[in-house]
Amino acid sequence: MELLAQQLVNGIALGSVYALFAIGFALILARMGILNVAHGTFATWGALSSYWLVAERGVDFWIAALVGIAFAGLLGVLSDVLAFAPLRKRNAGMFAPIIASIGIWIVLLSMAEAFAGPTTKSYPVAAVPATPIQIGGLIVLPAHLMSIAALVIVVTVVHLLLNRSRFGSAVRAVSVDPRSATIVGVDARRTLLAVAFLAAAIAGLAGVLAAFSDNNVSFGLGEALLLKGFAAVVVGGYGDIRGAAAVGVAIGVLEVLSSQYISSGFRDAITFGVLLFVLVVRPQGIFGERQLVRA
């Protein structure tokens, strides 16, 4: 029983990272209409840059984490300025942004590979908080605690930001029709850039937490997140970030429990099995708000 409770905590912590990633991914999909496959590389670069600062430059872990998150956000803004904005201006349809995002994915992934090399690295032991915390009978790692706390904070803040603030109504107006939004006084350009920054920065946060939790930094870090995040968005929908976040947590729990009680080799296969099942059985999404193509 204690083992189960412990594994549940581990699963929720892992799932929190997936959920964070899914929130950024869903934000871009819902508000900008872009399926951004480069989103995983934002997480990778968030982790890589913060790791580099800690390990090579001796920067304090917390500051490095903040810089890493901001750097990921900046990459998101750059992607939008250089690739998505010109396509938006030309009204290029829906394939063009996917293809552009694949281009960004290639660029950021191969640069990450060149930067990080083929090996995986870990944070210097002394530089990161690592002392387990006893809560009741459970042992919680600081990384796990941070992941769960970060998810709670981000979900709350982003939800309030989107639904209760002026910024949120600006975002909604722009995502429906940028031109009319401009007429009613919303700065469409700045709003979209803010969304791009926010989404990529959340990906960066997920990347930093993923690297910190596993104590494992590599250029492929974001790819695993991309798939889990995608699964969470497919199952949970992207209209409301809370749906994707909840499913992200569920995927983490499912993974940890299945590798504990079934088999560790196929823990990815189980996630994708669930994903495929949902796609086939309920193409409109669990919560039904996903629109079907009118084909």
């Binding site: 496959v37 290029a92 996917i98 293809i99 290639i106 796609l279």
Partner: protein
Amino acid sequence: MSTTAWITTLQFAGVNALFALSIYATLWTGVLSLAPIFFGAVGAFTFGYLAGTVGLSPFLGLVLGVVLGAALGALTAALVIRLDSHYLAMATIAMVLIGRVLVVNLTELTGGAAGTLVPGELGTWLWLIGCLVVAGYVLARLAKSRFGMAADAVREDAAVAQTLGISPRRIQLVGFVISGAFGGAAGVMQASFLQYIGPDTFYTHLGFVTLAAVVLGGAFHWAGPIVGAIVFTILPELLKDVMGEYDRVVTGVLLVVIIIFVPRGLVDLRRVRLLRARSRQDPPRAGDDSARPTAPQEVTA
């Protein structure tokens, strides 16, 4: 670059062209799918396994690749065609990523992380060009057929195509079957040239390069992917001397630049026709894009 290196590069350009045609087959019907990489993996590993255990002949391996690919294409279509195009694209990318998980974990069949050896009898120019000619011929013949015109219509405006009695899903199913057949064949050919296949042979990198080839060459004519594959396989090789390990960065940047500035690719019949129309009519008349009503479509999803 030495002559042998050039020949190898050109051979991979040929295999990439086959993959690119496989991507084109679904794109023609308005579906962005990276599933061909997965079809190729299944064809190649099945071929490798059967050649190693029961001594399947290479030619039968190729036939098997085509049949298996086509069947998988139909199955994929049945599963994903209902999805919104974003989800559909992502689901096929997920197939590629899942393919690697399967290859690594099904050790008895695939050799796991170590990979497996494959006989190389098909790895000749004759077989390669033969496959490309057949694939190109099939697409060229279909271009103005009943299916081809319907595919064009579905891609350009699926809603209007429907009012002409065309069922987009049916057309897309056919596209997936053709895509599967080509992808399966491309996988077997790739395996024959490499004579070794592992978890990373049919992975994202191959998907990127072939998709980039289709986009560069043009996704609106069957010759586009072939031209694109040749350019896009040779270009990084040439750049390797200059760019070193950053050659892929150029691939990515090119992809973005092309989709922004030459969205219909190098082989673009529409541009040819537009130019012809302009040269034919000297007195300006409602001739260019600005004359085309661009009002938002009245029927939205």
